[in-house]
């Protein structure tokens, strides 16, 4: 499996933009657990302490946002390309609104999105 790592989290992946993890086909949850074993600092930044994906973080398996394919139960193949990207958000309040861009649209500025104002 290959993980695309956003700019903000690369310091927890040895500076790499991609991390390869050998893992048989599994759920996304198991695939992420394999990533956490290699890059433990990423876990608490991508998921909450209760194991839920953070509200302004999107995960794509290939081109599909996993919010529409079963969430953490999404099946991933051993060759899957998994992208972790921040949602493009704006507006007032912590929830803001999120625009889900596909990974191909985000390669140029991955990790560079502005955080919604919490005012």
């Amino acid at each position: 499996m290959r993980f695309h790592i956003p700019g903000a989290l690369r310091e927890f992946a040895g500076g790499r933009s991609q991390v390869e993890v050998e893992h048989p086909p599994a759920t996304l949850n198991a695939a992420l657990a394999a990533l956490w074993r290699v890059c433990p600092g990423m876990r608490d930044r991508v998921v909450t302490e209760q194991g839920e994906i953070r509200p302004h973080v999107n995960i794509f398996v290939g081109e599909e946002n996993i919010r529409y394919t079963g969430g953490l139960a999404t099946r991933v193949t051993a060759e899957a390309v998994i992208s972790i990207v921040p949602a493009v958000s704006g507006g007032k309040g912590g929830a803001g609104h999120s625009v889900f861009l596909r990974p191909c649209m985000l390669q140029a500025n991955i990790g560079g999105a502005e955080h919604p104002s919490s005012s």
Binding site: A8, L9, E11, F12, A13, G14, G15, W36, R37, V38, C39, P40, G41, R43, D44, R45, V46, T48, E49, Q50, E52, R54, H56, V57, P86, A87, S89, G94, A113, E114, H115, S117, S118, S119
Partner: protein, 702 residues
């Protein structure tokens, strides 16, 4: 007993004998499997009511289905004998495994995590073990830890206390003392009842002996043992025991229950963190785990020296550090640190020889607590968020609103107030944190409501005269006080108005914006409410409205003069709907008589078109003579006064929206070893003497 039948079970052999009874191997003639049957010792004087209580507890324990708890199949009574039928385990007890030198640390950590998860499950179901010890933990041939005898020890624990108290006169050597005594928590020896935390103490004893092969508290008699438990500190464990494991054990063995972990689930989380760290260290490429420190190479730093005044600024786009000499005439600006992060809370910890800045950062990627010991050049960057709700709460931290160092006498204690409203505390200088369950489990909590900024615990006050008393304020929940180090909390809002509730004076639910106290008069508190300024003279039990003459009693920030307990500062805004300085005139209001009257302080502040807002943590003081007062606005302006608020100067502008201002004077004893000025050293910012400069030129943050 061999050959006898108890219900469907034919007893085939005796396995062992303990304080509670004899354990036999038996054969289940219905399900055709081997089981273990514990026949409880007949005790003279044990009533039928006691028997029933014991049976009930055993039945409750039988519902604990968990991979690290020995399963109880059945409890029953036959021919006057109570018996418990359990899973037959093949393995060794923990006490038979650790030998003279203890187990390897990775085994202790692995078994420790398993035992912690077992305790967490039982405690979550309201079941206290009461007799946890290494003889009650079996390591199976599959390498799994299994805890035995949950809920069965209620009565035997009491008899061990008797042993301990009797021992002074009658017990000659330790061998005649019940083995349970070694594991007994100080509060049990004082005759107090067992709760979850007595199990956590015993767990600490188990971990200690598993790690080094000896007990933490020893003695030749029961009296000596109990004296050691009550008064002595265990010998510190060094290598090969890793510091993180020793920290967990120490926390379990805190003499006061309130100083221990409060739930087993917290220990489980601590072990998980240690395990993750172990994985990192085992990874060949050490850079994979991420740096322990973040060094900010590309931002300006200020060179801070002893006796300098330091202003810490938290904004919606990062933190800044400003520094001035003691005259406070010229300020240099360092930062921004944590580009793009909200920094709601900052704190300076100058206790002992520290000069540590704490910051909470929040963005897409969660909320983290960071610290710097070199005035911002480098910051800790924890791999795992240390402030986290335990799994059983189903709750996640959204933001850290307040960081409060503990009292001088408790130099390693820190508190954090978070959103959703909860209090976390650390007893090891911020290495590990635990949720205050007394407050989190308060029956009011489900009925607290989020305010505009979320459901936040934003204020923490420590009573300097009583180490067990502290206050928190929650928006919207009100003020809560504990008098027992956080074990229990009571709402303290009598007289405080809740304009938005049908009942205007409810027991709790007020939208309190800030509370403050003067250390010389800890019985007196001041409160800025969502409408209303109040004072209490009786430890928050009752409150009186003191908004006499302020143009609006709506506001956020509130500050007590560091030396004059009757002097209080507020910065009103016009109304709930229009949260800006009244009439576009930025004014601080000060009382010098504890709220009987207020005076406007406006010299040097913009008095036309200044629709400013000052948030609850954006007002601070330096404690120097004369006292300096500082505040920051949501439009990014920073103002200061060197004469207790009589006149003001603009220290800076163009900052991102300011959330938090904190001030500290670097103490003489801790002269920092800061590098001399380099080309990255900050430019000097001169305070403005003209009051109403409305320059909109802003510093670029990118």
């Amino acid at each position: 007993m061999i050959g006898r039948k108890l219900g469907n079970y034919r007893v085939t052999a005796k396995i062992g004998e303990g304080g509670m009874g004899v354990v036999y191997r038996a054969y289940d003639e219905v399900l055709h499997r081997d089981v273990a049957v514990k026949v409880l010792r007949k005790e003279s004087g044990r009533s039928s009511a006691t028997n029933e209580s014991l049976l009930q507890e055993a039945r409750a324990s039988s519902a604990l289905a968990h991979p690290h708890i020995c399963t109880i199949y059945e409890v029953g009574e036959a021919e006057g004998e109570l018996y418990v039928v359990m899973e037959m385990l093949e393995g060794k007890t923990l006490c038979d495994m650790y030998g003279q030198t203890g187990l390897p640390p990775d085994s202790v950590i692995r078994y420790g995590a398993q035992i912690a998860s077992a305790l967490a499950r039982a405690h979550g179901r309201g079941i206290v073990h009461r007799d946890l010890k290494s003889a009650n933990i079996v390591i199976t041939s599959d390498g799994l830890a299994k805890v035995l005898d949950f809920g069965l020890a209620k009565h035997s624990a009491a008899s061990s206390v008797d042993d301990a108290t009797r021992s002074l006169a009658t017990i000659e050597n330790a061998s005649s003392v019940s083995g349970t005594l070694w594991y007994m928590a100080p509060e049990l020896l004082r005759g107090e009842p067992a709760d979850y935390r007595t199990d956590l103490w015993a767990f600490g004893v188990v971990l200690y002996e598993a790690a080094c092969g000896r007990l933490p508290f020893s003695g030749r008699t029961g009296f000596e043992i109990s004296s050691a438990i009550m008064r002595e500190m265990p010998t510190a464990l060094g290598p090969p025991v890793p510091p993180a494991l020793w920290a967990i054990i120490q926390r379990c063995l805190a003499k006061e229950p309130a100083q221990r972990y409060q739930r087993a689930s917290e220990i489980q989380v601590a072990f998980e963190a240690v395990q993750s760290a172990a994985i990192v260290s085992a990874t060949p490429s050490s850079d994979r785990g991420g740096p322990p420190l973040t060094v900010f190479h590309t931002v300006r730093h200020v060179p801070v020296r002893k006796r300098d005044v330091v202003l810490l600024l938290g904004t919606v786009k990062g933190a800044f550090i400003l520094r001035s000499k003691v005259g406070r005439r010229h300020w240099e600006v360092g930062g921004p640190y944590f580009h793009g992060h909200n920094v709601y809370a900052l704190a300076y910890d100058g206790r002992e020889d520290r000069q540590r800045i704490w910051a909470s950062t929040q963005n897409y990627w969660g909320t983290f607590l960071r610290s710097s010991d070199d005035f911002g050049r480098s910051w800790t960057n924890p791999q795992h968020a240390p402030i986290r709700f335990p799994a059983d709460t189903g709750t996640s931290v959204k933001n850290i609103w307040q960081i409060t160092p503990g009292r001088r006498a408790e130099p390693n204690v820190l508190y954090c107030g978070v959103e959703p409203a909860a209090l976390f505390e650390s007893h090891d200088a911020g290495e590990t944190w635990s949720l205050n369950r007394g407050l989190f489990d308060h029956p009011h909590r489900p009925r607290w409501l989020p305010g505009n900024g979320g459901l936040a615990l934003h204020s923490i006050l420590l009573d300097p005269s009583d180490q067990k008393r502290m206050y928190v304020a929650i928006s919207s929940g009100g003020v809560y006080r504990t008098d027992d180090s956080g074990q229990t909390w009571t709402a303290q809002n009598q007289g405080v108005r809740a304009t938005f509730m049908p009942n205007k004076y409810p027991e709790f639910g007020q939208c309190v914006h800030k509370i403050a106290m003067h250390s010389s008069r800890p019985e007196r508190l001041f409160l800025q409410n969502h409408w209303g300024i109040y004072r209490s003279d009786d430890h928050a039990a009752t409150w009186d409205d003191i908004g006499n003459g302020v143009p609006s009693d709506f506001g956020f920030a509130l500050l007590v003069h560091p030396r004059k307990p009757d002097w209080v500062y507020v910065i009103p805004v016009e109304s709930d709907e229009f949260r800006c300085a009244c009439d576009g005139r930025l004014r601080v209001y000060r009382t010098r008589n504890a709220g009987s009257s207020w005076e406007a302080l406006a010299r040097g502040l913009p008095q036309r078109g200044a629709y400013e807002t000052v948030l609850r943590d954006a007002l601070s003081t330096d404690g120097l003579e004369p006292v300096g007062i500082y505040f920051g606005t949501r439009s990014g302006q920073l103002f200061g006064s060197r004469d207790e608020g009589r006149t003001w100067e603009k220290i800076g502008e163009g900052f991102p929206s300011i959330l938090c201002v904190r001030c500290a004077v670097v103490e003489d004893h801790s002269a920092p070893a800061m590098p001399t000025r380099s080309r990255q050293t900050a430019p000097r910012v001169r305070p403005r003497t003209k009051a109403a400069s409305r320059s909109t030129k802003r510093r670029s943050m990118k």
